[in-house]
Symmetry: C2
Subunit: 203 residues, 2 copies
DNA sequence: TATATAAGTTAGTTATCAATAACTAACAAA
DNA sequence: TTTGTTAGTTATTGATAACTAACTTATATA
């Protein structure tokens, strides 16, 4: 009957269960009690591994942040043309979100927006990090001649940085009834047309 | 000491106070008790005017929906070129959101995303309504020759429909430290460049 | 194999929430 | 001036939340 686990195992279990709950019932319903019941321990056991609820949210955020960083790094480092790498980065990014549906729920949650300042700061830093990566790829694309050299890559990066969460929000609001990756990539292509050097080179 | 008000007055007062609380403390903290304390009545008085909490949220949503509809109508109906009316519509839309900062808080709230199905359905219908108006303006613009006639106006409308909440989310996440209207309009211009008939006609 | 320690338990506390029951005071119209 | 309606009250309930104190047991290793 003794199903004791190491702290590291239990912490991972708690984080994954919290992600599941955040998606299924909403971030607000991620309670220590709900997690405990799902993994088969008592409610205070959760607080043994995370001293406060806020600490648990930070651990969840870091889990997401590390996963995203791996995805971004893999896409950025490559020798394909910059615009292709940018497409691939956003495609992988959207695929990860589709596979981890708790992310929109957490990103849009009040836990983030009004309650937990540290959590918000962490996500802001991740958004800015993505902005830097996109900006860098756009600058490379400008040097490669794939987009006009006069393009304001900072504004263009911020446009993509708005487009991605925007389509996520619509996806979340409409009950995930359209294909997030397909829709996101379609909107990306349309946005990139505006940066194409000539009418014909939109491809 | 008797500060009795008519039901209509009290209902309006409750809705406006709820909007204020949704912004200041987050939609989750919009409790009957908090509202009651702010307007100087007892907590059950709130439930006299709205039978359930959900009914209050629906009334809040309808208040927002009606305000937006007025703004959209004013911008759509006019005789300026369609693309100018589209810019004006989105500018007025963003100005209203800047003046009513509870809207992003509610739009991203769990109240909307996981809890209150009727509320979510209402906001989805409002988003679709905006999509129709934008799509209509883009079709007009295509007929006027302001954008290429082959443009897929439905996809373009959905791009704008993602861009707007996306910039709202970034604004909200970053603690409203940039100018929502200026940033939104800058991103809109960049997005419209992609639809411009020729390189030179980007203006 | 003893034992320290880390992983867990039971049994609480305090706070906040939506909602209801039972009642009262203001008011408008017949 | 009576009478029905409506806006309000106080008091309470039942859930659910985060968190804590005090105690117990599994397990790795000296």
């Amino acid at each position: 009957m003794s199903m004791r686990k190491t702290a590291a195992e239990r912490q991972a279990e708690i984080i994954l269960t919290a992600l599941r709950l955040a998606h299924e019932r909403g971030p607000e319903r991620v309670s220590a009690d709900a997690i405990a019941k799902l993994i088969g321990v008592s409610q205070p056991a959760v607080f043994r591994h995370f001293p406060t609820k806020q600490a648990l949210w930070m651990a969840i955020a870091e889990w997401i942040g590390e996963a995203l960083e791996r995805i971004w790094q893999r896409a950025v480092s490559g020798d394909a043309p910059a615009l292709l790498r940018l497409r691939e980065l956003l495609r992988q990014h959207l695929m990860f979100i589709e596979a981890t549906p708790a992310i929109p729920a957490i990103l849009f949650s009040r836990e983030l927006h009004s309650q937990n300042g540290a959590l918000r700061a962490f996500f802001v830093s991740r958004v800015q990090r993505l902005g830097q990566l996109l900006g860098g790829l756009l600058q490379e694309a400008a040097r490669e001649g794939a987009i006009p050299p006069r393009t304001d890559t900072a504004v263009a990066a911020r446009m993509l940085l708005s487009l991605v969460p925007g389509v996520m929000l619509r996806w979340s609001l409409q009950g995930r009834e359209f294909d997030l990756v397909a829709e996101g990539m379609a909107l990306l292509e349309l946005a990139l047309q505006g940066l194409a050097p000539t009418e014909a080179a939109g491809r």
